[in-house]
Symmetry: C2
Subunit: 360 residues, 2 copies
Amino acid sequence: MASLTEGNTRPVRLADIAKAAGVSHGTASNVFSRPEIVREEVRERVKAAAEAMGYAGPDPKGRLLRAGKVNAIGVATTDPLSYFFDDPYARAMMASISATCDATGTGIALVSAGNEEKLAWNIQSALVDGFILFCIEGGSRLVELTLERKLPFVALELGFEDDRVSAIGVDNVAGARLAARHLAGLGHRRFAVLSLAFADDSTGLVSPGQVQAAVYTGTRDRLAGYFEELSRFGVDTARVPVYETENDEASTWAGLETIFASAEPPTAILAMSDRTAMIAIEWLAARDIAVPRDVSIVGFDGVPDAALCDPALTTVAQPIAEIGRRAARRILDFDGTVRRETLDVELVVRASSGPPPTRA
Amino acid sequence: MASLTEGNTRPVRLADIAKAAGVSHGTASNVFSRPEIVREEVRERVKAAAEAMGYAGPDPKGRLLRAGKVNAIGVATTDPLSYFFDDPYARAMMASISATCDATGTGIALVSAGNEEKLAWNIQSALVDGFILFCIEGGSRLVELTLERKLPFVALELGFEDDRVSAIGVDNVAGARLAARHLAGLGHRRFAVLSLAFADDSTGLVSPGQVQAAVYTGTRDRLAGYFEELSRFGVDTARVPVYETENDEASTWAGLETIFASAEPPTAILAMSDRTAMIAIEWLAARDIAVPRDVSIVGFDGVPDAALCDPALTTVAQPIAEIGRRAARRILDFDGTVRRETLDVELVVRASSGPPPTRA
DNA sequence: CACTTTCGTTGGATCGATTCAAATTTTGGC
DNA sequence: GCCAAAATTTGAATCGATCCAACGAAAGTG
């Protein structure tokens, strides 16, 4: 006797159960995709055969090829995948993107790439209908790679002035000016900037030359905005220390050490991300430097956590939810056009900023 | 003249460029997948043709069918997709899962299902090699559906005693006992429990009958652990209010209102999740009830945030990273076996628990 | 009863690649 | 210049479904 029916390890295919039930594969397919057009008796027979043979249902791999549409959008970054769950900005953005996807029954595929080779492969082989790119850093390479897929995609940052790529971002110059004006208006004159990267893998104090050579225009624009506004208030921006961080604890701490080692430490810090700003608040608290009594801080991004930290962070809020919604919509309702949108930011004044200490 | 070459809208296929370059599609395929085995001259010719025709590279949809392996693992929940980015437990777990996936170049597909119909479809059509299921709530249905796909999967919770499903979880009874013993040992005798759901869609004060009928055994086990240990200390568990929350603000607030409306409010709260515990801490702070002076709280889960809130939360820590790592590994190295693992929890004592107030 | 509809079913074509045994071309040795 | 071995290239088969034109059977019509 032994085993007499079907092959042992090989998974059961639609064709197998069609044969077993004595119908054509076309009919078998209909049983699953449009059961109402199949006569009940036949339908039951096919279902019974499927059950008996342990059929797992139509394999999406097969369907996909025919259908053409994956029904998933890829979200890509050059950071490790955990970025999506760790970084507060990414999280807020993902929450908005996923809400939109949820509403339309679209799936989300997370794509990352630590190193060059894997990046390429992961982008090339992602099963998605389009991409949303987080291109805070190392964006250009990501964009090139994605361009090759010839799928709809949108960059979350207006980084490069490339008119082949759709993008959604904020007016960084205007936002930075809001922050600077707020602090200068409160009376501050001694500033320091906790910056994001200007180019790949750079950190540390920044020279004007490096600013000129900035690859990441988002960073450059924010700095430009800060400086423009500070100049109006008579601040000599050449003497404002700009420390480039990697938006993490280690590099931000290093920056603060450097900045506060100065003979004339700042009374106000302009941070280019809320994350850096919040790290700075903790660093200062640990050293008994009171915020905002001794030092004021203004962040950038407007992540939800910024409202909850202590003291609550004054920040330039991006419309994160709106950006996420639009990005997802742009992929879902892709119409073949390239568009670049700039949304407005808003200064949210909270407890981390106040007048400078009355002067020693 | 007009347009004479290729179809206009239709995307370019491998076969198209093979024809254009005058080679077989087999060779064209090799140019992309194993370039080293095709003669340089031919390779260049094919690449040139691809370039000229705007070929996007081998379509993963096609490859997939042949290759069989998607190289992605699906993570599913019955909550909305944003759960993965909002809930601290989910986030910590995802960070660990994604680190493992990153290391192996595996993608992650997020799958969710608000309503029944979509749930089914999303699970059935997910392009993945296996699933990791977050089945905190509504798990059984999710498991049934996933079972039908006949793909490897693992449940993150030992919820059901179903030996068809692999699972990784913690010893809930032991963990709950640690929490209860800690508080009782400090001298507390008046307790309240902020519980998770015992069954679908239930909230509110729980009767012993409901506990008996618990569908979610994780919740039931934690409560059993609490009560076992409290009994040893002579606490009449029948009088301990157990309030079922949905692990969110609204229901937790409601629970606290109820619990503290009592004539003899508790001096100690056993919360079945850190999230609930942290929400409780905020609620109490807003009412000037000092933690731990007036009320002690012990959470459950050991999420990273618990160490950062104020006061830092005493909690029963699950080895979240380890669970995530093992879950991902179980899918990646699937060997056809079903296994259920129970990991140990650990009581982490922080600032939210202390002796009860010296009695009025 | 012949004739049109309607309903279900069939089976070939297709989606876009990869694979592999067989055919062909090159290369190397003498 | 001939033959075996090595290097390339070919083209049919396959992956697992869905789609659709065509066809047969049952139902409806005058």
